[in-house]
Amino acid sequence: MDKVELMIDGKRIDGRTADQLRPISIVANPIRNAAGSAYIEWGANKIFAAVYGPKEALPKHTSDPEKAVIKCRYTMAPFSSVEEHGKPGMNRRAIEISKVTAEVFENVILLNKFPGSEIDIYIEVMQSDGGTRAAGITCAAVALAASGIPMRDLPYAVSAGKVGDTVILDLNKIEDNYSDADVPVAICPRKKEVSLLQMDGNLTKDEFDTALNMIINSGSYISQLQIDALKKPYEKIEERYL
């Protein structure tokens, strides 16, 4: 494979600087039948997340008498990507992402309030352009908050990576495929706790610290977008009477 030039004069292929995010917009509750839902556009990523429950855990053997169980299903639509990612149904990659996403929310939701029940989180990628697991977690957090399920925190996720010697934030599809490392991280912003950390490729310790700092610095912006999306429907109604 030929080496692709991903950084020219400090600018990336889509014109961003190293620590710049793609444009993000979040909408809360676009799906009427779900207990809570959200839609995110993160660059060219278009993702829906919906939450159902808590409800009786079925099949019965999956339930836990002490706490609720989280069942997460991340899937990519057959038309979401030009390459092999767009196969319908659950594949190895989708099962892995579903598992790590469920583990992010297990640490955040107050599970002991609903013994024996299950909470379903569905993440559907309509169009993918790299970093969909991070965008999916950010979107699902909004959906959970909109459904009223009690949570300790509102997590967000971003990926960082490395191109040559430069650490970059929020990789897109081409950067993801040809970069030297990809590190998706989910953070609970109140205490800055890391609840997801995966690393594909190699980073030195210094590079890793730079990447994590970039992710935490970008967090306040993403968190604010999540909060704005949640508050917007209420403020819209309030405006009518001011």
Binding site: P115, A146, M151, R152, L154, Y234
Partner: protein, 200 residues
């Protein structure tokens, strides 16, 4: 001052014991989307789930009639259960019932008492977090609606509302209006004027 809070937001530097919040490191932190009033020290959730509490009135739909019990769908995480010998009515699947929560067992299932079958009518589901607003202070809001529309209305704390007779369309319109605008003050007057306008 009232403000809208989101999960994970620190709402007070002091530990306050409120529903929908947790105390961590001596600070109070919200766990739900809600309206926090720092003068009164109250947190009212905007979106939320219903947890059964003894003494609450609920409306449910019979899910299954068993030999000596009925299981009731309460549109909540957990089912309700009616023990046949404590009710005089004979019920079938799909019947609408009104009952009082007598007890909540360890698994979260609500044991219901004083169950009564409600004949006819329609059932609507409203977000359980808006039910206190639908009832109003001392049931003023719901009395106002039933007086204006001449409908008989039974409100369950789990979010199911049974309506029979009168102007059902108007009742539904009022309920949806309350659900949407519950977090803004002066609601009783607004609903009152809407009902007055529509019934003339």
């Amino acid at each position: 001052m009232r403000k809208i809070v989101v999960p994970g937001e620190i709402i007070s530097d002091r530990p306050l014991r409120m529903e929908g919040s947790i105390i961590e490191d001596g600070k109070t932190c919200s766990t739900v989307m809600g309206v926090f009033d720092d003068e009164k020290g109250t947190l009212i959730s905007l979106e939320g789930l219903w947890y059964p509490r003894p003494g609450e009135k609920v409306i449910g739909i019979i899910d299954e009639a068993k030999l000596n019990t009925y299981t009731v769908n309460l549109q909540a995480p957990y089912k309700g259960i009616i023990i046949s010998k404590y009710t005089e009515d004979i019920m079938a699947n799909g019947d609408i019932v009104e009952a009082i929560v007598k007890d909540v067992d360890k698994t979260g299932m609500a044991v219901l008492a004083r169950a009564r079958r409600l004949g006819g009518g329609k059932v609507v589901y409203i977000k359980p977090s808006k039910i206190p607003r639908i009832l109003g202070k001392g049931n003023t809001m719901i009395n106002q609606i039933s007086d204006a529309t001449k409908s008989s209305i039974e409100v369950g704390m789990n979010g199911l509302i049974w309506v029979k007779g009168g102007r059902i369309d108007l009742v539904l319109e009022a309920l949806v209006k309350i659900q949407e605008e519950a977090h803004i003050s002066g609601l009783t007057e607004r609903v009152g004027s809407m009902l007055k306008e529509k019934t003339q």
